[in-house]
Every structure is written in C-alpha cells, then in structure tokens.
C-alpha cells in the first residue's frame, strides 16, 4: 500500500475539445463592440478608465460605514466573549486543583466526604489518603515578603478604586447627557402637543411615542398611515419617522385643457416651506397624506364614471368636462409646476382649475364628515356579506356644475339669437325669464352650516327658462337638469309648452340633445308665428266683391309654416310659406292654382314666381312680417 493514489474532491473539468476558432471570436467581438475599424487607442483608454471607475464605485458602495461598524463590533464582541470564557475556564481549572488537593488531603481522615469532591481523574490515579499533612513550625517570613504582599494588594486596590471611580464618573456624565437629551426630547414632544397635535403611544411599538396627524375619518388605509413615531436623535432632538409617507410634499394638480391646449392649472395647496421645524414637517406629512387620499379617491371615482368617458392611465385622470374643455388630474411633487412655462395660461382656465382644485378638497373634507356621521349611526345588523363603500363625490359635482353652466349658456345664446330674429321681423315676443340654479333647498336640514352649504352643491342642478308666446295665453318653459351623482347621469332638458290654439300639440317633454331642444323650440316658435299670422286681422279687401269672402289666412299646414288665403277665384289662392331657424326667418308668398289651395309639393302648382323675404340675416327685409303679410293679402 505504499503507492498512494489520490481521489479528486472536485469534479473534473471537461477539457474543451478544441479552442474557439479565431473566426468565432472575431464575430463575437464584432457583435459586442462593433467593428474593429472603429477601435482606436483613445476609445480603449476611455473604456478602461470607465471600468476602473465603476469598480471603485462598487467598492465604495459595498463598504458602507454602518456595515463595517456592526461587523467590527460583532467581531469584538466574540473576542471578548472568548476572553471571558478563557478566564473562567482557567479559574475553574485552578479552583479544581485546589479542591482536588484539599480533598485528597482530607481523604485520609474523612474519606467518604472528601471523595465526593475529587475529580474523576484524581480518583483514578491516587488512592484515597495518599497525601499526608503535618503541622510544622515554619520559619518566619522575611519582612520583604510581607511588604511585597501589601504593596501588591495596595496597588490593586488603588487601581480598582480608580477604575470604579472612573466608571462611576462616566456613568454619571452619561446619565447627565441622557437626562439632558431626554429633557430636550420631552420638551419638543411637549411643544408638538401644545400645538394641538395628538400624541400617543404607537399601537405596535408600545415603547415609542407617535404623533397623530392623519384624519380619523379617512379611508382606513390612509387613516392608519396618519401616525408618525417621534424618535429621539442621539442629542435628544425629535425625529419624525414617517414610515410610508414620501419625504417630498406632493399635491393633486388640476389642469384645464382647452381644445387640447393647457389653459390653466392649480397651484400647490400649501407653499413649500424650507424651514424644517417639526411642526412644518408634521404639517407637510399631513398635507401630503391628504393629497394622496384625495388622489386615491379621485381614481376610485374616475373608475366608477368610466361610462362617462373618464379615463385613468398612468396616474393621470382625464375628464371630458364640456364642449372643448378637458380636465386632467394627477398627483405630482409640489415643485413639479415650476418646470413648466406659463405660456398659454388663460385667466379663465386658471379660474376653473383653482375652483376645481378647491372643490375636490372641500368635498373630501365633507366626505370625511359624512364618514363620521355614518360610523356613529346605530350599526345595521351583521350580515355575512360585506357592504361596499360608495365612491365619494369629488369631481362629479364640479363637473356637473361646469356642464350645467355650459348648457345654460348655450340655451341662453340660442334663445337670444332666435328671439332676435323674431324681433327683427317686428314680432313682439315678450322677454323670457330665467332662474339659473333654481334647485329648491330643503330648509329642514339639521346639518351644520358648513355641511349644509356643501349639501347644496351635491343635489342635482336645475335651471329654468320660461316665457310667454305671441299667441295669447301661450307659454313655454325649459328646465335643465344636470345630475352626475346618481344613475341617469348627465343633463336633460324638460321642454313644455302651452298653446291654446293647438290643443293637439303635446309638450316635447324630456330631451337630452341640444339639437333636439333647438329643433323643438324652433318648431314651437314657428307654430307661434304661424298662428299669429293667421289670427292677425287683415285690412278689409276691396269692398266691391263678396263681402262674405273669407279674409283670413288659414294655417293649412302649420307645422310646415304654410298658410293660405283662399279666394273665390280658384286660380288666385294666395299662399305664404314661413320658415324659422336660429338665425333666420324667411317667408315666401305666391299664388297657387288649386281648388282650395291645400295642395302641397307638386300639387301646389304655384302660378307665379314666389316672392322671398328674410329677417335676421344681413340682407334682411326692413318691413315687418305683418306688413309683408298684409301686402301679400291684397
């Protein structure tokens, strides 16, 4: 067995069959670094320098100071531990020798007792009683020995007293420092408390103090985050440990886009303050938390109103507000706005953005109050299914307001236009009356004023327009309802009319498109004009012929604006055709050949080129409608 053989402890590395061929390597390099043609000395040098720098960075990164500290301390700890164990073991050994010695010595006289304390080893090798002892008269110790002993003992005494005194002093000064920093800490805590913040123990870490800055009625996730621990720095100053709150102040930014262009944006709710007092940090934490909750709730609301065209993408909420307005909401750092120029910002846009920005914040505060109200009601009986929390109304009321206003303004301008057309034809339609935001408020609301004011804002909006027509006792009214809070979202127009002369005419009722409303009103007014025309007493015709002749324009097809003045001569029926639009009233007069003049279309058979009059356009007739009609009658 002289020949030793070795067993490999590591797996054998497979020898490569053959080294990479040069072409393969070149291909690889080409792939990784690009063509050789671009390689020169400079490029390589920069490359090397870069790599070197990277290495350095990594080294620095790895050895963070605290890491080093803790490992070093740990090492030291284990070294000390080993020292203690060594000393103790040594002492134990020495003591064992002493015990063995005395035990063996005694084993001669009291073997049974002595044996119990002898080490197993000694028992094995030394028979009991194998050590003798005798009392002798020892020679007196030399003076020097005694002196030496007392010197040693005095030396240690002095040293130990010194050591003890130093330790006590150290402890005292440490205690003093500790007292000073505790005093500072508690004073600062007290300052926080005196400012009115709620200071309490942390629920999970009962040794630590915390300050409650969040909102009790916020969504639980945010409510629970509204607590920061008040930690003590080494020197006793207060550190606000906010945990989850991002260190930067953030806010929900409202931007108003008009025709795709930025038209206005809201400013941060609270100015960034650089002085970092505890108070200001608490305030910032509170504000940011509020803003985060606000955005969270806005996103929830946006999802619930997706059917309305609201989209959420990448922390951006887009809300089509009205016509050409779009609202953008996002959560950004407070200083984000500074990066953008103020071009294109209009006062109107800024007003809307600021208004909306205040609105959503007030409404979140209102929602908090509602939460308080809800949770202090007598609880409903427990059931297995969970109740879902409805989304707060934050942007919907504001949106409804914008929308409602836009519809009101549209209707107003439409009525202005069409009434203008009628006036220009000297038709004296009386001015209409309007009640914008005429929603009646229940006075019985027992809520505090602040809440009552907000409640008003949350009810569906209503504005009414009403007026008299030309027709005696005729009237119309239009009610605009906007409601974005409950099903049947959106705006509806309730158009109703009272036309005593056309009992068949029903009110158009609930309409939802502006075009429909415009058509309905226009039609209504056309009928009104037709009736006015037909009921207008004509000047008596030439008295020579039948006085029995019916001298009244008869509204044969009022809905088409057609009137006929029949004549005894079937060839000479006169006809008027009225047309009304938002911008124009037009009238055609002609005679028809027909038995009673009621034919329409190709049966109408006009016998002369129609005369055309228009009002409301630049080339308007200067005569009044009635004058033209009178003229046509003769």
């Amino acid at each position: 067995m002289a020949d030793s053989f070795t067993l490999p402890l590591r797996p054998l590395l497979d020898e490569r069959d053959r080294p990479d061929t040069l072409p393969a390597e070149i291909a690889q390099i080409n792939n990784q670094w690009g063509s050789f043609r671009d390689v020169n000395e400079d490029v390589l040098r920069t490359k090397i320098a870069e790599e070197y720098r990277d290495d350095l960075d990594e080294d620095e990164g790895d050895q963070s100071a605290s890491d080093l500290d803790s490992t070093e301390r740990l090492e030291q700890l284990y070294k000390r531990r080993k020292d203690i164990i060594d000393f103790a073991t040594q002492a134990h050994m020495e003591a064992m020798f002493a015990v063995d010695f005395v035990s063996l010595l005694l084993s001669k006289n009291t073997p049974r007792q002595a044996e119990t304390s002898m080490s197993a080893f000694l028992k094995q090798i030394a028979p009991l009683g194998s050590l003798n002892a005798e009392v002798v008269n020892p020679p007196p110790k030399p003076d020097s020995t005694t002196k030496d002993i007392s010197a040693v003992s005095r030396g240690w005494r002095i040293q130990n007293f010194n050591g003890a005194a130093n330790k006590l002093l150290q402890a005292a000064s440490r205690l003093e420092n500790e007292v000073a920093s505790e005093t500072r800490y508690w004073n600062e805590v007290l300052t926080v408390k005196e400012k009115g913040w709620k200071v309490s123990r942390l629920p999970r870490e009962r040794q630590a103090l915390g300050v409650q800055y969040g909102f009790l009625e916020a969504t639980p996730v945010f409510r629970d985050r509204g607590l920061a621990s008040l930690r003590r720095a080494e020197n006793g100053s207060l550190i606000l440990d906010k945990g989850l709150i991002p260190p930067k102040a953030r806010f929900v930014r409202v931007r108003v886009m008009q025709d795709g262009q930025l038209a206005g944006r809201s400013k941060p709710t609270s100015p960034t303050n650089d002085e970092q007092t505890i108070e200001s940090r608490i305030l910032q934490a509170r504000d940011t938390l509020y803003e985060e909750e606000l955005f969270h709730e806005l996103v929830r609301e946006a999802r619930a109103t997706a059917n309305y065209g609201v989209t959420t993408r990448q922390n951006l909420i887009r809300i089509p507000a009205s016509d050409n307005l779009e609202i953008l909401l996002d959560l950004v750092d407070v200083d984000e706005n500074d990066l953008q120029s103020d071009q294109d910002i209009s006062q109107e846009g800024t007003r809307i953005a600021e208004g909306l920005s205040h609105t959503i914040r007030i409404l979140l505060a209102y929602a908090h109050r509602q939460n308080l109200h809800r949770r202090t009601l007598l609880p409903l009986p427990l059931t297995p299914k969970k109740r879902s929390v409805p989304e707060h109304q934050l942007f919907r009321p504001a949106l409804a307001y914008i929308q409602h206003m836009s519809h009101v303004l549209w209707l107003q301008s439409f009525l202005k236009d069409i009434f203008g057309v009628l006036h220009s034809a000297a038709l004296d339609i009386p001015a209409y009356t309007k009640h914008v935001f005429s929603t009646r408020i229940a006075q019985t609301s027992s809520a505090p004023t602040a809440e009552a004011v907000v409640e008003r804002f949350l009810t569906p909006f209503e504005s009414t327009f009403s007026g008299k027509l030309l027709t005696p006792r005729g009237s119309f009214s239009i009610a605009i309802h906007t409601n974005l809070s409950s099903p049947s979202f959106g705006t509806s127009f309730d158009v109703s009319c009272n036309m005593p002369n056309y009992p068949d005419i029903k009110s158009p009722g609930r309409l939802s498109l502006r075009e429909e409303v415009q058509a309905a009103i226009t039609h209504l007014l056309l009928l009104d004009v037709v009736f006015t025309t037909s009921s207008n007493s004509l000047p008596p015709s030439k008295p020579e012929k039948d006085t029995q002749e019916n001298r009244v324009w008869e509204a044969v097809y009022p809905q088409h604006g057609e009137l006929v003045l029949s004549s005894s001569n079937p060839e000479r029926h006169r006809k008027i055709k009225l047309a009304l639009s938002r911008h124009e009233l037009s009238l055609q007069t002609y005679t028809v050949r027909c038995i009673d003049g009621t034919g329409r279309g190709k049966w109408e058979q006009p016998s002369q080129t129609p005369k055309q009059y228009t009002w409301g356009t630049p080339s308007a007739s200067t005569h009044s409608l009635m004058a033209v009609v009178s003229e046509a009658s003769s």
């Binding site: 009790l216 308080l372 949770r375 202090t376 009601l377 007598l378 609880p379 009986p381 427990l382 059931t383 297995p384």
Partner: protein, 264 residues
C-alpha cells in the same frame, strides 16, 4: 334577529373616566340618551289574539305580522321604549320661578304624551348551554303607534307592569353598540296602573342603584342568528372589545336567569 351582548358594572366614581375612555376608543362624542321604558306582561294564553286592534292602523302590515308572531309565541315580559329628551321632564320649581311676577314668560314646550313615539322591544330568554362566553338571545323590534299604547297592548293581551327611565350615553364602535346606562326611578308615590302622562322633574328621579352606579352594555345585532359564521364573528368582535377594555372594566356574560323574559 339575534343579539350578542356583554355587560359590566361600573361604579359611579369610574363613570366619568370611562366616558372619556370610551370616547377615545370610539373616536366620537358620547350621545346622551333618555328613554322611557314601560314593562308589560302577557296575561292571556297565546293564540287567543287575532291581532285585530283599533289603534294599530299606523302599523304596517309587515310589522303587524311580526308583532303577532312574537307576541303569540309564549307568555313574555316585553318592553315598550320611547325616547324622551331632557326638556320633556317637568320642572317642579316652575311655580317658584314664576313667583317674581313675570307670569308672561313664554310657555316652555311641554311633554306631549299624545305624540310620544314608541317601539316594542321584544327579547327572548338568552340561549342556554352555549359554549361561547357571550350572552346571545333572539330579539325583535317594531314601531308602535304614538301616544297612548295601552289599548294596543291590552288588545294583544298585555298588561302594564311598571315603568322606569334609562339614562345613559351611547357609543358606536364599528358594529358594536356601547350603552353606558343606569335605571332611574320615578319619585316615590303610588304606583300608577298605566304609563304616566306627565313627566316629573329629572332631578327628582332617583337611581335604582342607590350608589349611582352604571351598567355598560356592549351589543351587536345579527341579522340571521342561525348563521354560525356570523354569530361567531359577532362574538369575536365583542371579545376583541373586552380585551381592549380589560384594564378599565370587566365585560362579562350576564347571568341567563337575570335576563329571563318569560312570564310565569
């Protein structure tokens, strides 16, 4: 419906502090409550009542059915509860204050018995032999016509026993209702055979428990008492509260017989 409950006795010296503790726990201000509680006892064997009563038109038919069902089961004590406010209580010193000649003082709103709203609160005897350490019992509550309920109640076979006032503060903690209450006696005198039409001065009312101690009642109502899962959840919520309050009060299950509503 079912109700799970825990009770605690609260000595009067601890009352103020407990109010503050509960306000802290529930993060709400205490809601002060005063209730008239009329106790009725069935005198007729069940099944004799057809539910035909003159004064019960205002009761909706659903309520009526429920009432019939709960009243015709067995013979029970049952309570008629009506909320009152402090100003409903008469002032015995009225005559004194009017001695100074200002007889023209506008009349204070008086207690109007005819408009007193009432609710019938039925409670079964707590369930026996439940292993859980909470009191649990069947309950039901329905609205009664306002004003004089004597005709209604006697039509159902119930006679008036006595009445008292409960005074206390209400807190809501998630699904738990906390009521820190005590019973007030009417001033001593002859015991009327029907509910009082007038209320004495509040300060003349004396606590049933002479030291003035309170009772803390923590309860959760459960829609479907046969759903073991929900009942368990309710008990656990109460145990959680008991744990939170254990340094202040000791909430316990009540002795079953002390809540025995059966009329013998």
């Amino acid at each position: 419906m079912h109700e799970v409950l825990l009770f605690a006795s609260v000595p009067v010296h601890q009352h103020h502090e407990l109010l503050q503790q509960l306000a802290g726990l529930t993060a709400m201000q205490p809601r002060h409550c005063l209730e008239r509680r009329l106790i009725f006892k069935a005198y007729r064997k069940p099944g004799l009542v057809a539910g035909r009563t003159g004064a019960s038109q205002d009761i909706q038919s659903g309520d009526l059915q429920r009432l019939n069902k709960m009243l015709n089961g067995s013979m029970y004590y049952t309570q008629v509860v009506g909320p009152v406010s402090e100003k409903d209580f008469g002032s015995a010193t009225d005559s004194d204050t009017q001695m100074d000649g200002t007889d023209e003082t506008p009349e204070a709103p008086r207690y109007d018995y005819e408009r007193q709203p009432w609710k019938l609160e039925f409670r079964d005897i707590p369930e026996a032999g439940t292993r859980s350490a909470v009191t649990s019992r069947q309950m039901s509550s329905s609205t009664l016509p306002s004003g004089d309920i004597m005709p209604t109640m006697s039509a159902w076979g119930y006679s008036f026993v006595t009445e008292h006032v409960v005074e206390g503060d209400l807190f809501i903690h998630n699904d738990i209702t906390l009521f820190l209450q005590r019973v007030l006696h009417y001033p001593a005198g002859q015991e009327p055979s029907q509910p009082r039409q007038q209320m004495p001065a509040l300060k003349d009312m004396t606590p049933l428990e002479k030291s003035g101690s309170y009772v803390l009642q923590a309860s959760i109502t459960v829609q479907d008492g046969s759903n073991q899962e929900t009942m368990k959840t309710a008990s656990q919520h109460l145990f959680g509260l008991r744990e939170q309050l254990k340094s202040a009060v000791r909430l316990e299950q009540a002795d079953r017989l002390s809540l025995d509503t059966r009329a013998k």
